[in-house]
Symmetry: C2
Subunit: 258 residues, 2 copies
DNA sequence: CATCGCCGTTCCTCTATATGCAACGAGCTT
DNA sequence: AAGCTCGTTGCATATAGAGGAACGGCGATG
């Protein structure tokens, strides 16, 4: 199968097993061998063997009745290790909680991975009306406050790479013009703050500020999210200040002296 | 490397990559290439390549400074899928919460995987003194209330297999005699209830009852855990009843008609 | 400041191994 | 009951992964 010139040298069977794991989603948490074979363009037997290897280590489980495979409990165990060792989160949690109490809206910690934003911590708000999210969720970068903010602090190369990609429109407000986005990224870096006005989800606004480690490097973002109709214009500056304050506090706890 | 007769046919490179993932623990969340090579008896170069493949899919991350590898954020994403699709947990959470409120002690949902108990849900108690646990934790079966309970409902073959293993003593109270354990398992099945008296952790007692799906099959256990000095003898029967009641309620929500 | 030693990565060769095909078998459907 | 779909297993072949060696980067040490 000498198809892909392979961006990096990579072990194909391992890669394929990971692709299988990655292919499960909330929408399709269960799959059959043949589904995976089609989806990933692999032979039935190959997928079958990959799955049984994955199953032998608990990464997937086979439903004994439906024969379908789903992600296994091993993931829970690995997750607890990841969570326990995310330094930022430990420091952030109480401050995040406080921010949520003060503002009444949900807050997150987010980091970049590849070209996506991953939320590593979430404190929900108490309103019955909530924006659905969860730890581990991945969102695009060009239309979320945390995404834009984190990208703003990356080097020129990374930004150019982002701008070359297609900027998919999720709402009428999504910024799809590379030049406009570039300009905004520069402003964000300057302001150390980002506001997103329904650019990803309809009627949802968000605010983000950078979290720095002791070297001053931006390692994560704190973001606050809520429905637009609940967060009125005149509250914006208060919220902005609170978010920035929280971000600074977390940074300070991580050893950043500014 | 034709060492292991290989219980089941298995893809070695995939298996090794999973062994790498599994080797990370809370105690050792970061490892170097050479550590892994020694630990898993593989060549440096092999481990290096496995790791970079794992990294390319986000399953591990390399700390750019220390060169050490740790589990990656992809795990968080997979975890959210696992969690969202654990039927039992959805039904159990509110009931668990209620149980914790009534008793003041922590409660868990547990299932079996291989020869271990895995906790899939946890509600902590509000006491400052807590038994440390977390979702994803794996405990031995022969000395925990949920482990013994779940094993009690397995078939003869599985029980025999368990009894053949060495029953490691974690405390003076741990049951290490296969015959005694066998007898107790039968009693547990009869009583649909299990009590564990400091058999795994010193000064920690726990209570467990079975959760059944609509077919009547025992698919999980509910367990309540607390420090022995706080849970007095005269409270035992009340707690037992509450735990059993909670388990029945969850089972009912899963469609089990007793 | 230079040398040494450690560790991660890359290169190369060889063989073990993962793949695809085909056949088998189990479970549903009609 | 027969026919279908789908998952697993066996087998032969080509390939891709393992291991050894060498390189290169980094930090320690004298």
């Amino acid at each position: 199968m000498p198809d892909k010139p392979a961006g990096e040298s990579t072990l194909s069977s391992v890669k394929n097993s990971l692709r299988i794991l990655n292919s499960f989603t909330n929408e399709e948490p269960e799959k059959r061998v043949i589904d995976l074979a089609n989806e990933l363009q692999l032979g039935k037997s190959t997928v079958s063997r990959l799955l049984s290897t994955l199953a032998s280590e608990g990464f997937v489980t086979k439903d004994p009745e439906t024969q379908k495979y789903r992600l296994g409990l091993r993931i829970l165990t690995l997750n607890s290790i990841v969570i326990a060792n995310l330094e930022v989160n430990k420091e952030a949690r109480p401050i995040l909680r406080n921010l949520v109490n003060e503002t009444g809206e949900a807050a997150h910690i987010a980091v970049l991975e590849n070209q996506e934003v991953v939320y590593t911590e979430q404190i929900e708000c108490s309103h019955p009306v909530r924006i659905l999210s969860y730890v581990g969720r991945r969102n695009p970068v060009h239309c979320t406050s945390s995404g834009k903010l984190l990208y703003a602090f990356l080097d020129r190369v990374a930004i150019v790479k982002l701008l070359q990609q297609e900027l998919k429109a999720y709402t009428p407000n999504t910024i799809t013009d590379p030049d406009i986005l570039k300009k905004e990224l520069m402003e964000i870096k300057q302001a150390e703050f980002c506001y997103s006005d329904c650019e990803f989800l309809q009627d949802v606004v968000s605010f983000a500020a950078p979290i720095r480690d002791y070297t001053g490097k931006v390692i994560a973002a704190i973001s606050l999210v809520g429905p637009k109709h609940r967060i009125l214009k005149h509250q914006h500056s208060t919220i902005k200040n609170k978010v920035i304050k929280a971000a600074k506090e977390i940074s300070r706890n991580l050893g950043y002296m500014a």
